[in-house]
Amino acid sequence: MATVALSGAEKRRSRVAVLDIGLRYGTTAMALVTATIVFLIATFLIVYSWPAIAFNGFGILTHLEWNLGNQYGTGVEHRGGFTGSPGASFGAVVFIAGTIISSAFAMAIATPLAILVAIAMHYQVPRRLKTPVNTLVELMAGVPSVVYGLWGIGVLVPWISSSVGPFLAAHISWLSIIGSGSASGNGLLATSFILSVMVFPIMAATMRDVLSTFPKIVFEGAIGLGATPWQAVTTMVLPAIRTQMFAAAMLALGRAIGETMAVLMVCGSALNQLPQNVFAPINTIAAVIVSQLDSALTDPTGMAERSLSELALILFAITLSVNLIARVIMRGGDRVKRTA
C-alpha cells in the first residue's frame, strides 16, 4: 500500500517536472511567436506599401486630397519610380485627423464615466448585485461593433440631426465647435459618441479589476479615520493606482483608434475636407480603407491599393506609438511612486 502510494507520488513528481519544462519552452515559444507575428505584419505592410511610399513621398502626410486619379483617361503618372493613374493624389491628413480627433473626443466622454462606474462597481454596489452588474458591463464590451453601428444609424444619427444639433445651434451657436448645427447627423459627434459607448465598458471592466488589486483595508481605514467615501477614493485610492488606470484607458484608446465598422456607418465619410465643427462629417483611417477598397481594385496601376496599404501602415504606426507613449508614461509614474 505504502510503496504504491510512493511510486504514485514519484510518478506525479516526474510528470510535474516534464510539464514544467514543457511549460517553460512552450511559453517561450509562444512569446516568440507573438513577437514574430508583429514583426511579420510590419514587414508585410512596409513591403506591400513600398510602391506607394515611393510614389506619395511625404505628400501622404501633408495633403488633404485623396484621389485615385482618372481611370477613364489616358496615360499614367510617374513619381518616385512608380506609376499611378493620371491626376492621382493620395493625402491622408483628413483620415489621420479624423482618427485622432474622434478617438480623443470619445476618450474625453468615456474616461470619467468609466472611472465613476468602476468605483461604483467596486465600492458602492451591494454584494448581491455585484455579479449581475459585472456581467452586464462585460456583456456590453462583447457586443459586436456592427450592432452599435446599426443603433447609430437607426437612433443616434437621426436624433443628432433632429434634436441635439438644432438645440445646440439655437443656444450656443457662438461656440465655434458648434457652428450652425448639424446637417445630416452623420459626423464627428456621432462617431465620438458611438466610440465612447464602445470603449466605456472595456475601460470600466479593466478599471474595476485594477481597483480590486488595491487593498480594501486602506479604503476602509480612511473611512474609519473620518473620510467620506469620495475623499477616500480621490485622495487615497486613485493617486495610488493612477498608472494602472492610465494603462486601462490606453487599452481602450487602442480599440477606439482601430474601430472600423461602427465608425464607417456613422462618420459621414468625409473626403478632402477637415471638420469645421463637431457636426461635420469625418473619416478615419480604418473606415476609409474599407470604403475605398472596391474602387482601389479597379485602378489599373495598382497604386490605389498600395496607398490603402500605406494607410494601414500609418494606422499601425499610430497604434504602436500610442502604446509606446503609454509605456513611457507608466514607467515614469512608477518611478515617481518608488521615490515618493
Binding site: 481611370q71 440631426s161 445630416s184 447627423g185 459626423g187 464607417l264 473626403l271 496601376t301
Partner: protein
C-alpha cells in the same frame, strides 16, 4: 457519444454534398450589388433546368472586375464598362446583361410627392458647393410655379463613400452636361469630390436611402432597382433634363427611349456610356449592366457552361417576369445579337 454522432453525420453530409457539387460544373458570379438581385432571380430558375451550380455574390463592381481578371470568378458583374487603361494588355469581354437607370432622390418636406426639375449643371452646382440652398435662383428658374415653394434651407448632398457604379454613371451625367465638372472632378467609380461642408458619404444603395431619409433637405443618387425602397421611405425623385433640354422621369418608356438613342452607336465590344443620349424623351442616366468575362476560361467544360448561362441571360433571362422586379429594362434586339457575338468568343 451523441456529439460524435453529430460530427460523423456532418462529415458524411459534407462528403455527399461536395460529391454532388463535383458532378455538376461550378460557376462563380461576383460583383455589382445592383446586378445581385437580378442574379438571385435568374440563377434559381436557370439551375433548376440545367445541371450547373452557380454561386452569386454581391461584393461591388471593383471586386467583380478584379476577380474576373484574376480568374477567381467566371463572371464579374459591373455597372461600369472597363476603361482602356483598365483593360491594358488583358482581353476581357464586357457583355451587357440588362439596362439599368438611376434616379435622383431628394427629401424636401412638402415637395416629395411632386417631381422637382433638376438639370446636370444644377446638380453639378449642388455637388461642387456653388449652389447652397434649395431656393437658389438656378433651381427656381427651372421649376416654374413650384419655384416659390422651395424652402430657404441648406442642401445636403449625399454621395457614395464606397466605390460604385452609381457614382460612375451619376458623374458621367454631370461630366457630359457641365463643362466645369468635366474639367474638374470628371467621372469614375470613386471621384475626387469637391469639399462641400454639408456633404455626406454613405455606403451602398441601402445606406444612401437611409441617409436621405434621415436628413431633411438632402439629395442623393440611387440605383433604380431601389425605387420601391425610396418610395416607401417617402423620398421624392426628380425629373432630369436630357440632352434635348426636356425634363423627363425614369419611366420605362423614357429609359427605353434613352437606350434606343445609343443603340446604333454601340460598338462591337459594347463598351459605351448610355448617359445623356439624344432624343426628346430619353432619360439621361441609364447604363448597361455588364458581365465581365475572360474569353479564355480554364477548361472547355467551364467555358461552355459560362456560354450557356450568359446566352440564356440575354434571351430567356430578358423576360419581364425577371426584369420588372428590379426595374431593369430588356436589351434591344440589336444589342442582344452583339452580346451573343461576344459570348461566342468564350473558349478555353
Amino acid at each position: 457519444m451523441k456529439p460524435l454522432r453529430i460530427i460523423f453525420a456532418l462529415i458524411a453530409f459534407s462528403i455527399t454534398t461536395t460529391a454532388a457539387a463535383f458532378a455538376a460544373a461550378e460557376l462563380l458570379e461576383t460583383g455589382s450589388s445592383l446586378v445581385y438581385p437580378l442574379m438571385n432571380l435568374w440563377v434559381p430558375v436557370y439551375t433548376k433546368a440545367h445541371d450547373v451550380k452557380i454561386t452569386t455574390q454581391s461584393t461591388g463592381s471593383g471586386t467583380g472586375i478584379s476577380q474576373a481578371v484574376a480568374g477567381v470568378a467566371q463572371i464579374g458583374a459591373s455597372d461600369a464598362y472597363m476603361s482602356d487603361s483598365q483593360l491594358g494588355s488583358t482581353h476581357m469581354l464586357n457583355i451587357p446583361l440588362a439596362i439599368s437607370a438611376q434616379q435622383i432622390n431628394y427629401n424636401v418636406p412638402g415637395l416629395n410627392d411632386v417631381h422637382l426639375n433638376l438639370s446636370g449643371p444644377v446638380l453639378a452646382g449642388i455637388y461642387d458647393g456653388s449652389i447652397h440652398f434649395w431656393d437658389d435662383a438656378k433651381i427656381k428658374a427651372i421649376n416654374g410655379s413650384l419655384g416659390s415653394k422651395l424652402p430657404h434651407e441648406a442642401i445636403i448632398p449625399i454621395h457614395r463613400a464606397d466605390g460604385s457604379g452609381d457614382t460612375f454613371i451619376f458623374t458621367q451625367y454631370l461630366t457630359f452636361s457641365t463643362p466645369s465638372w468635366k474639367s474638374g472632378p470628371a467621372y469614375g467609380t470613386t471621384i475626387n469630390w469637391p469639399a462641400v461642408p454639408n456633404a455626406v458619404g454613405a455606403n451602398g444603395n441601402p445606406g444612401m436611402v437611409q441617409a436621405c431619409q434621415g436628413a431633411k433637405y438632402s439629395i442623393a443618387y440611387i440605383g433604380v432597382s431601389f425605387l420601391d425602397q425610396t418610395n416607401q421611405a417617402g423620398l421624392g425623385y426628380a425629373a432630369l433634363q436630357n440632352a434635348a433640354g426636356k425634363f423627363v422621369l425614369p419611366t420605362e418608356s423614357n429609359i427605353v427611349a434613352g437606350a434606343a438613342a445609343k443603340d446604333k452607336e454601340t460598338p462591337k465590344d459594347e463598351r459605351i456610356s448610355l448617359i445623356y443620349g439624344l432624343g426628346a424623351n430619353s432619360y439621361p442616366i441609364i447604363n448597361y449592366e455588364y458581365a465581365i468575362v475572360n474569353p479564355k476560361q480554364k477548361d472547355a467544360a467551364t467555358a461552355s457552361e459560362v456560354k450557356n448561362f450568359l446566352t440564356w441571360a440575354v434571351t430567356g433571362g430578358q423576360a419581364k417576369t425577371f426584369l420588372d422586379k428590379v426595374h431593369f429594362i430588356a436589351l434591344p434586339p440589336s444589342i442582344v445579337s452583339l452580346s451573343k457575338a461576344q459570348i461566342a468568343e468564350i473558349g478555353s
